[in-house]
C-alpha cells in the first residue's frame, strides 16, 4: 500500500450503509495504489454525494443529478485522472436519468457507484426511482404508484460494458467490485444496495442480507442474456457481483488526438498556432 487515505468525521446517521461503502472505497483505492491527487470523486446532492467531504481526495460536489456531466468533462480534460461518480439512486436514476443513459452510450472511462437505498434520505423519506411499487413512504402515504426503474437491465439494454451490483454489508466483495470497476476501461456501473436506517423500513439491512447471494463461480459474465435475467432478479433472491462485462473501446480512445497525445490540460497553448485557421476566410 502506497498511501493511506485520511478520513473525516461524517454526518451520516449511525448504521447508515454509507459508512461501509466509504470503507470499501478507501480499501479499493489503497489496494489499487491510487493516490488522492490522482483521483476525483464527483457527486451530486444527497447523503451519498457528500463522500468527498469524508475522505481526503479531489472532490467535485456538484448539483443534484448532475454528477455525470462534470465527470465526463474532467475525464476528457485530463485522461490521467481516475474519475469516480458517487451518487444516490435519486441523483443517478431520477434527476440525472438522462445523463445516466448518455454516459452509457459514450462508454467514457468513469466508475459510477450508485448508493441505492431505494428511498430519498436527505429530503426525508420520499420514494426514489427504485422504491418498490406499493411501498408506503412519507410522501406516498398510500403506496408508490409507479414502477421502479431497473437500473442494471436499463444499463444492459443501452449497451453498458460493465454492469455490477454490490451490497454495503459485504465489504470484501464490494471492494473487489469497486476495484474491477475502477480498472475497467469504459463506463462501469456498480449499483450498491444499502439500507437507509431512518427512512426505509422495508429494505432494511436484514432485508438485503437475507436476499443477496454471490453469483456462482462458473457464472459467465460475458453472456448478455443471462446477465439480463440476473439484472431483473430482485425479489426473494438478489444476485450480487459482476453481471456483465465486455471489453469495448472507451470514448476517449475514439479520438486520436486524445488517445495518442498528452492530456488536454498539459498541452502548451500558443495563440499563433491558430493563425493558419484564418486561411479559409481569405
Amino acid at each position: 500500500m502506497k498511501y493511506e487515505y485520511k478520513l473525516y468525521e461524517p454526518s451520516w446517521c449511525p448504521g447508515c450503509g454509507n459508512y461501509m461503502i466509504r470503507t470499501a472505497l478507501k480499501m479499493a483505492l489503497e489496494e489499487l495504489e491510487i493516490e488522492p491527487h490522482e483521483v476525483v470523486l464527483v457527486s451530486g446532492i444527497g447523503q451519498a454525494a457528500k463522500m468527498q467531504h469524508y475522505i481526503k481526495v479531489n472532490g467535485f460536489n456538484g448539483l443534484h443529478g448532475r454528477a455525470i456531466p462534470p465527470a465526463i468533462g474532467i475525464r476528457l480534460a485530463n485522461k490521467n485522472l481516475k474519475v469516480i461518480v458517487e451518487s444516490g439512486d435519486g441523483g443517478s436514476y431520477g434527476e440525472g436519468g438522462n445523463h445516466f443513459i448518455h454516459a452509457i452510450r459514450r462508454n467514457i472511462d468513469i466508475a459510477h457507484f450508485v448508493h441505492d437505498n431505494q428511498i430519498y434520505g436527505l429530503t426525508k423519506g420520499q420514494a426514489s426511482p427504485t422504491t418498490a411499487m406499493g411501498q408506503k413512504t412519507t410522501l406516498q402515504f398510500d403506496g408508490v404508484k409507479v414502477e421502479p426503474i431497473k437500473p442494471l437491465a436499463l444499463a444492459l439494454t443501452m449497451g453498458a460494458g460493465f454492469v455490477a451490483r454490490g451490497f454495503s454489508g459485504d465489504i470484501p466483495h464490494l471492494v473487489s467490485l469497486m476495484k474491477a470497476a475502477i480498472e475497467y476501461k469504459g463506463y462501469a456501473l456498480v449499483d450498491i444496495l444499502q439500507p437507509c436506517v431512518v427512512w426505509n423500513r422495508v429494505n432494511t439491512f436484514a432485508w438485503y442480507k437475507n436476499r443477496v447471494y454471490h453469483l456462482p463461480e462458473d457464472y459467465d459474465y460475458t453472456n448478455k442474456e443471462e446477465a439480463m435475467k440476473k439484472a431483473l432478479e430482485f425479489d426473494d433472491k438478489i444476485p450480487i457481483g459482476i453481471l456483465y462485462k465486455e471489453e469495448k473501446e472507451s470514448y476517449e480512445d475514439r479520438f486520436d488526438f486524445i488517445k495518442n497525445g498528452p492530456p488536454l490540460v498539459d498541452r502548451q497553448l500558443n495563440p499563433m498556432d491558430a493563425e493558419r485557421l484564418m486561411e479559409e476566410f481569405r
Binding site: H53, G59, F60, G62, A77, N78, L81, I101, P271, A274
Partner: protein, 555 residues
Amino acid sequence: MDFSVLIGGAAGQGLETSAHILEHILKRCGYNVFTYRDYMSRVRGGHNFTQIRFSDRELNSFTNKVDIVLALNEETVLLHKERLKEEGIIICDEDISNGDRTLSFPFRKIIGKIKNPKVINTIGLGVILKYFGIPLDIGEGVFGKLFKGKAYEDNKLALREGYNLIEEKYHLELREDKKIIINGNSALSLGAVAAGCRFYCGYPMTPSTSILSYLSSKSHEMGIMVEQVEDEVAALNMALGASYAGVRAMTGSSGGGFALMVEALSFAGIVEIPVVIVNAQRPGPATGLSTRTEQGDLRFVIHAGHGEFPRMVMALRSPEDAFYQTARAFNLADRYQIPVIILTDLYLDDYTKTIEPFDFGRIKIERHILEEKDIKEYKRYEITESGISPRLIPGKVAGQVVLADSHELDEYGHITEDTHIRTEMALKRMRKLDLLKDDLQEPWLIGVEEPENLVVCWGSTYGAVKEALDRLIEEGHSIGALVFGDIYPLPKKKIMELGRTAKRIIDIEQNMTGQLDSIIREETPYKSDIKILKFDGRPFSGEEVYIKLKNEVLK
C-alpha cells in the same frame, strides 16, 4: 459605388451556395462585402433570401434597396420587386417572370444542354458577373476552390453560358484583395481557439449551432474536445468539469438552451470555476422566432441564476469585436474565476463581412493558475482581500487535493453552515465584482466627440448605427453614439461624461422594452428621451436607423 444583389428562393434551392460564391468573387475583386441572410425555420420550401452588398468603402450594414434580384422562383419576384433601385433589374428564368425591368433567359433550356440541373443558379451568377464586368477567370477561380471534377466542369460551363447572355453594364475596376470574409460565429470561434479553448460542448440550437460545427471541424487539427451533449443542463456542468480539471472551456446556446444552464450558472458562481458561456440570442419567448434576431436576453443573462454571485456580461458588436473580445473573455474568466457570458444574436452570428485579418499576436493567454509545487496548506477558497483565491489544478501537485462544491463552503472547500464563514465567503465572492470594474472597457464612442444627440446602443446594432451616423454627420448633425460591449458590470465613465452635455439621449435596441436603457437608468442619473426599438425579428439596416433618427429625433 455601392451595389446590392439579392438572391431569393425556397429553402433547398441552393441559394446559400450561390451567395457564398458571389460574395467570394466580389471579395476577390478587392471590394468590401457585407452579406445579410434572411431565412425561415424549415429545410425545404418557404422563402429565403440573401443580400450581397459590395462597395469600395467600408460596409457595416445591408441596404433596403437593391440593384439586382436573382429570382430562383416567382415568389421572390413578387416579394422583392418593390425594393429595386431606379435602375435595378430582376434576373430569372423565362418561366418565372417576363415583367418589366426583368431580364429573363432560358436557364432551364441551357441546363438541358449541360445535363446537370444542380448548376442552374450558376448561369444566373454568370449573368451577374458580366453585368458588372467582372472577369470570368475570377469567377472560375472561386468555383475551383469549392468544386472538383465534373461538378467544377459543369459549373464552369454554366457560368460561361450565363456570361455570354448579356453585355457589360459596368466595368468594375479590380483592386487588391487583402481582407478576410467572416461571420460573427466563426470570428468568435477563432477567438476562442486562439485563446486556448480546448473544450466546447453544446446542443444544436439556432443560431449557436455554427459555433459547435465550426469548432468540431477543427477538433482533430487543433486538439479541441467538442462534445454534442444530451441537453444544455449537461453542457454547462460538463464545461465546468473540464475547467475544474484545468482546460479552458466554453459552452454556447441560444436563450432557450441558456435557460437550461441557469442552475449550473449559479453553481459556477459559488464554485468559482472559470467558464465562458455564449448566448446567441434569437427572439423569444420560448421557441419564438427561431431563425430571426433580437436583443431580448440582456436582462435575463444579467439576472439568471438563484442567489447572488459575480459574473460578467459582454456583447459582441462586429466580427472583429467577436474575435478579440471572445479571447479576452477567457482571460477575465480565469483571472476572476467567474462565468463570463457573451451575448451575440442571429444577425451578427450569420452576416458575413470583409474585415482586416485578425492579429493573433495581440492575443495573450493569462491563466492565473497556482504553479507552486511546495504548498503546505492549500486553501482553494482562501479568504483574500481581492476576493480571488489561489486556483490549483487537481492532479498537478502530489499530496494536494482540490475540492469544489455547490454548497456554501469553507476555505478548504468543505461544506459549512457557519454564519461567519457564510458571510465572509459571500463577501469574498462579491469583492471580485468590484475588482472587475477596473478591467472594464468603456463603450465605443462613434460620431461627434461631444454630441448634442447621444445614441446609446449595444452589440450587433453597432453596424446599422454606424452607417446611419456617418450619413447624419455628413449632413452636419451633432450626433454620436456609445456602443456598449461590456455591459455588466456597466462601465459608466463615458456615459457620465456625455450624458451631462447631451441635449437628448436616444436608445436604440432590438427589443421591446429598452433593456440597456433601463440598466443605464439604474446605474446612472441618465435615461433616454427617445427610444427606437425594433422587435419584429428582423435586424435594423443602416438606412432604417438613419430614417428613424431623421424623422423622430432630428426633425
